[in-house]
Symmetry: D2
């Protein structure tokens, strides 16, 4: 298992422990379900939940995580700012991040977006959703058909207040009349981020084989590369000679505040 | 002057008041210089500086500002978080924002980027900079030649840790061997943002006619539109009938937390 | 009328002359309808149709056109390549181009896209279309509500084989289950291009006030700027001295073939 | 070698056969040099040159090519349109394409761009080029340092008349004062394209280990995926029922011309 991607699946894990009907859908938690199919795909998978110390995201866990999946919904405000900051620093350094469903409103997603990404339309009516592939050359769409159909899902509708995505992989159609950019990517620093809309807790979305395929593809896509050695923090002289340098050349690779 | 764009030029205003040699370059402050040529272009211009109460950015000022220009350098950490939050909310609501030079490391820029946008190479050696127009169809490049040459400027070099820009208008060449994405745009919510690299305090950059043209163009480009009425905060029924809605349809236009 | 934008509305003008029921919808042709509301908006509007010599797009017409609108459907193959080439050259030089509805399959659109942009799903069933604004900061969406509803339109569905758009302004929802990137922009050379999906000949789409608003906004957005003087065709020496130039420096501003 | 990527390196192969001094730099042709290091990286590599029947790009060759590299310079106009069309169709269907150096002016590149991509500044003076990594999260930059330095290269300078790239991986600095977007990507249909600037025939650029690393990375990045099954050419009924379909529903997955 040496070369396998090291994944941590993080879940708020409140709906499943609070509501009997949600527990029936995901008896081992949403994280348990997701961890299961990622393991079956050959990945090295851990899980972590909100109630653990440091929400299960200790330095040791984060440092051994290549890709972090994030599912949260009703308790975004209970996630400690210090942990959010650590996750942010790891993304800047190259960790992949996959934000699921209501995670659009999480602290980490809003911090990385720089917008009010919690804003959108929504409706819990168990209506039909069709996710159309609009970027057939994208690795995250590999092996899919032209669309994914989900019989019952929560609706999210535009206008979704996010930055212009680097890539839009999926656009959703909803029975009630709305559309949504449901699979979008961003790069932030050395890290790669994928937001994937479906996954309401009361529907068996994560058992859908196409949804599983999307998440397996996304983990592979987001896994950190052997990174360019963009050295930071050393003083650097000009590479080329200057004709008339001012008296005291001051230089650096950081902002002056550091 | 009814229809003119209402601009506020914000300046840290510390270098000019502290160092005699900087004061010689900008006797009325960098903000005074910028306000001057924007007024000459027919705009309705105010200025504000760090030392004023609320940094001069009271609710009354922000609410009557269409486009805010931001110059800061050595005191980013002295800008109060509450003011940063207000500026952020105004950008989301449609106010244009033009971030100048060292403003790349300001709190507001980092918050809007969602990256460590303070990270880059830099060198104060008064070397030559050439800004090349790489998007000749962009309104911010209107009326320019194919490049702007500045005899002496501070160097900023890649890798600049910013999100993929919506548009790249200028790329800089520096005598010492570096390049830089020097004119980049972003949309955030309803607001439009332009970052423009040149403008070190010890050089007369803002007296350059091409630089002035860029900033005049950018203010016009960033000025808020008569916005789409993306209503938020009302409960919305499905637009189209649902076949099998779940029992109690719950819906909204906000995140569930609001 | 000196400063008004000079618009040419081009129409294939075959459906209206062939089918009585289409003529009832657009008695003066689709071009007549569009020209009417653009004139009312203060623009300087001409029209041109396929059957005219040079399809009405003579050098004199093209040279006095700031923005060209293009509606074609059943006779794309009858548009002469020489005229397509002239339109292409004008777009490169800065003329705006607005491609309407079935114009996605026109020669000029495919040439500018560099993809099989004629490929998409389609269905003529007069079904409901809802166009959602997904970029509320975009000038083309100015003054609209959050969506445009059209009771009856032809359906176009993804996957639409186009390059990644510079901007996506509208995404459509269709009653039959499809979505579509219905308002997208590109820059090509100095020219700006907007593709707008609705406008099937058998429905009164161009009488819709929101559709008219979109097209008026789009003409303003696509109108050429006072362009950067990116001079081409002159021999240029290095701007900066070279340490060890090879013997015979050869240089230019064109490809070597020109 | 079953799973290795099948690469074809295409070269005009005229400079090496015409000029003794170029032959000294690349005794086995530029294609021979490139094929060599790609083979060493475990790829299944063929070569093809202009003078062969069908320029060496027969149906059999193209159909067994996952990624095509293209080097051409002085004889773009001698490449037959029918072959260009076949390459284009393969890219649409998913073949990766890597366009090298003067290939920016090739027929295939211009067709895929939809712009005058042959237009740029240039100078043959053997001056220094520094390619800066501006997208440190991009797979094509994997394993590099923060820049690649080439002591002697031909200069290409902005403004380069290309569409807005999907990704900009490298920006070049030239000793004479210019900059250039030297590593850019596009998707077209199911195919992925990378343009890489360096590689003038009179300099030993393709022996540089960093340049080799870029091309190896690029081949891996551009190799076709197991593609989404975006079926084309079948008649499709609505996925969802329509309330008031017009009398004869007509539909398809192609343009109406096909």
């Amino acid at each position: 298992m040496d070369n396998s991607i090291r994944v941590t699946v993080w879940n708020e894990y409140l709906h499943e422990t609070t509501y009997e009907e949600i527990r029936k859908v995901y008896p081992e938690g949403i994280h348990g379900c997701i961890a299961g199919f990622l393991k079956d795909a050959g990945m090295d998978v851990k899980t972590a939940v909100l109630s653990e110390p440091e929400h299960g995201l200790t330095d040791a866990v984060l440092e051994s995580t290549d890709v972090l999946l994030w599912w949260g919904h009703m308790a975004h405000h209970k996630v400690e700012d210090a942990i959010v900051e650590k996750v942010y620093r790891r993304v800047m350094a190259g960790m992949g991040l996959i934000v699921l469903h209501s995670g659009h409103a999480s602290k980490i997603m809003q911090k990385l977006c720089g917008t009010d990404s919690h804003l959108l339309r929504w409706r819990e009516a168990g209506e039909k959703e069709i996710l159309w592939v609009v970027d057939p050359a994208h690795p995250i769409a590999e092996g899919l058909g032209d669309r994914i159909e989900l019989e019952n899902e929560e609706m999210y509708g535009e206008t979704f207040i996010i930055p212009k995505p680097d890539d839009i992989v999926f656009i959703s159609w909803f029975e009630g009349g709305e559309v949504f950019r449901s699979g979008v990517t961003y790069a932030r620093g050395r890290g790669r981020i994928f937001y994937f809309r479906p996954g309401h807790e009361s529907f068996p979305t994560y058992y859908n084989k196409d949804v599983q395929r999307v998440l397996i593809n996304a983990v592979k896509w987001a896994a950190p590369l052997q990174m360019p050695q963009v050295t930071l923090g050393q003083i650097k002289d000009p590479i080329m000679p200057l004709k008339n340098p001012v008296h005291n050349v001051i230089s650096g690779l950081h902002s002056k505040k550091d």
